[in-house]
């Protein structure tokens, strides 16, 4: 140890060492199209650190049995790890009670669960569900489905030219018929960080329940569900460096208690008989069938990993990358940035004059650069900006300014080819 180490204040967070972080992600050392992989698609799904990959493998190698009903030690060990993961999620989002954490397949399923079991039962013809123009299809279609069945409608609040929610218009749209508000925290296309605290306050003032889609938020910024005081929050493990196949629904215990079950099956029952079946307590009431046991345990490992680095440190690193990347790619001739909100996280969405986003994506692929092209499951938002498609580079914990330089070089070359 050097002498300087001893005089460092003990409270200081460890320095953010992106090289050391990259070394934790085996896939980042691989190649794509014969070039070193430059992974800029974390908004679609993040890559996985060794801790998560090892946790998954270790469960199956050493701790695996079905949970909750086995009397033998192995099943109880698996059950304990599974329960521990739920407590890690509780701690991570600062929930009051572990029973407020429901495991689903993904954020999409969590939204469907709330739509079907919380909103739909009391929805009447003419009622309204307020969303925004910047929602992912996952936060539009489940509401449309229940609205259509009941003769209700889904109302989108407008987004401004820079890609911010028009909060005044949003407030005006909360009317006597509004039964539910469902808003994205961080837009997967624009990167806009919505003022969720204000949104929740507006909803509360009018007595309307709120669901916050945090699929693009939990990996980028600190989440405190008690401070935020929304009614429901959803996110996916696979965007939080965890495995695919696991999602989280956080809901206030009083709501979850009052809601009917989502699906029927094992684990969600208290007692089954042909004369009638009674439901298990929350959260088990919503977790019919054998869950993704290993995936849930690995989500716990992902949370440990993120917490070991610190979400604030991650946010700072990503903010630096975003500022650097915004400056760099705007030098590319003909490039138009979509979404320049004041509060923004980790996403650069753009179009390039003379090139279809798909053309850009295919050229960048040849350079080993993974970006996303298309409508990013946000067709209404693209329509609002007069686009069919766009190209999106998105950052995670492991990205570097070198990644952005590679992106910028390739974009310059693409601009040269297409213009």
């Amino acid at each position: 140890m050097s002498d300087t180490a001893t005089i460092e204040p003990r409270t200081k967070a460890p320095a953010f060492d992106v090289g050391a972080i990259r070394a934790e992600f085996p896939i980042l050392a691989t190649e794509m199209q014969g070039r070193p992989l430059v992974y800029l698609d974390s908004a679609a799904s993040t890559q996985k650190p060794k801790a998560v990959i090892d946790a998954l493998a270790h469960v199956y190698a050493a701790d695996y049995a079905n949970i909750h009903r086995g009397i033998y030690d192995l099943s109880q060990r698996a059950s304990a790890l599974h329960d521990e993961a739920r407590h890690k999620v509780q701690r991570f989002i600062k929930a009051q009670d572990w029973r407020e954490i429901v495991f689903t397949r993904n954020a999409t399923e969590a939204i469907n669960l709330v739509a079907q079991c919380f909103t739909a039962p009391d929805l009447r013809a003419g009622d309204e569900i307020l969303v925004t123009e910047m929602e992912h299809h996952a936060n539009i279609v489940p509401w449309q489905m229940i609205a259509e069945a009941k003769g209700a409608k889904v109302v989108p609040a407008p987004v401004t030219e820079v890609g911010e929610l028009d909060l005044e218009a949003f407030e005006r749209l909360i009317g006597p018929k509004t039964r539910m508000i469902a808003v994205v925290w961080v837009s997967n296309v624009l990167g806009t960080v919505n003022p969720v605290a204000e949104i929740v306050a507006l909803a509360k003032a009018r007595g309307v329940p709120v669901l916050i889609d945090a699929a693009q938020a939990v990996q980028h910024l600190p989440v405190d569900v008690q401070a935020l005081d929304a009614d429901f929050i959803v996110f996916s493990a696979h965007k939080l460096y965890g495995p695919s196949g696991v999602g989280v629904l956080w809901g206030k215990a009083a709501h979850l208690d009052a809601m009917p079950p989502y699906q029927g099956g094992g684990d969600m029952i208290e007692r089954v008989s042909f004369s009638g079946t009674t439901w298990n307590e929350i959260p088990f009431k919503f977790e019919a069938g054998t869950p993704d046991i290993a995936g849930i345990i690995a989500l716990g490992a992902a949370i440990d990993f993120v917490e070991s680095i610190g979400i604030e440190a991650i946010a700072r690193h990503e903010a630096e990358l975003l500022a650097y990347g915004t400056r760099a790619i705007q030098q590319v001739p003909g490039l138009r940035l979509i979404g320049t909100a004041h509060e923004k996280a980790s996403v650069l969405t753009f179009t390039l004059e003379g090139a279809h986003p798909q053309d850009i994506g295919m050229l960048l692929d040849l350079d080993g650069i993974a970006i996303r092209t298309g409508h990013h499951c946000a067709m209404p938002l693209h329509e609002r900006f007069g686009l069919n498609a766009s190209a999106r580079a998105s950052f995670g914990i492991y990205n570097t300014t070198d990644d952005i330089d590679a992106l910028t070089r390739s974009l310059h070359r693409a601009a040269g080819m297409f213009q």
Partner: protein
């Protein structure tokens, strides 16, 4: 082999010769971009929902017309993405002006041979697979209509 099948084989050979000039994928893609630029655009009135080929990330439109006298299928197609338009140009070179029977009897193996095989995987967002499928379906429909007429 019928004369029509020979024509497709001839077009395949020409495409192979053209691609033999490039060893690098990037050069091949640049060539495809050039092909895309050179391909005549479809008039807007033909870019209809009915003519749209699904399964492509970009928009692709394909129009086929059978000449009853010659029994040959004229093909026109377009896309809003240049690389896709270049791939379309290759598809038109292979299948444009052939008989439905010759089209259904052939396989698009030439794309494999020129190193574009990866682009042919179903589900790839580039749409080459969907495009060829659509051409084959149209050819099949014309062929069936002929035999049942």
């Amino acid at each position: 082999m019928s004369r029509e099948a020979d024509e497709i084989a001839g077009a395949e050979a020409e495409i192979e010769e053209d691609f033999a000039l490039f060893d690098d994928v990037r050069d091949k893609i640049e060539y495809i971009i050039d092909l895309g630029r050179d391909l005549e655009s479809l008039p807007d009135e033909l870019k209809t929902e009915g003519n749209r080929v699904r399964g492509c990330q970009s928009q692709v439109w394909l129009v086929a017309e059978l000449d009853p006298a010659t029994r040959r299928m004229a093909l026109r197609a377009d896309s809003d993405a240049v690389i896709v338009k270049g791939l379309i140009s290759l598809v038109l070179r292979l299948y444009g002006g052939r008989t439905p029977e010759a089209i259904t009897a052939s396989t698009p193996a030439v794309f494999e041979r020129v190193g574009l095989g990866k682009m042919l995987t179903p589900g790839r967002a580039n749409g080459l697979y969907s495009m060829i499928e659509r051409v084959r379906q149209l050819a099949q429909a014309y062929a069936t209509a002929e035999t049942t007429a």
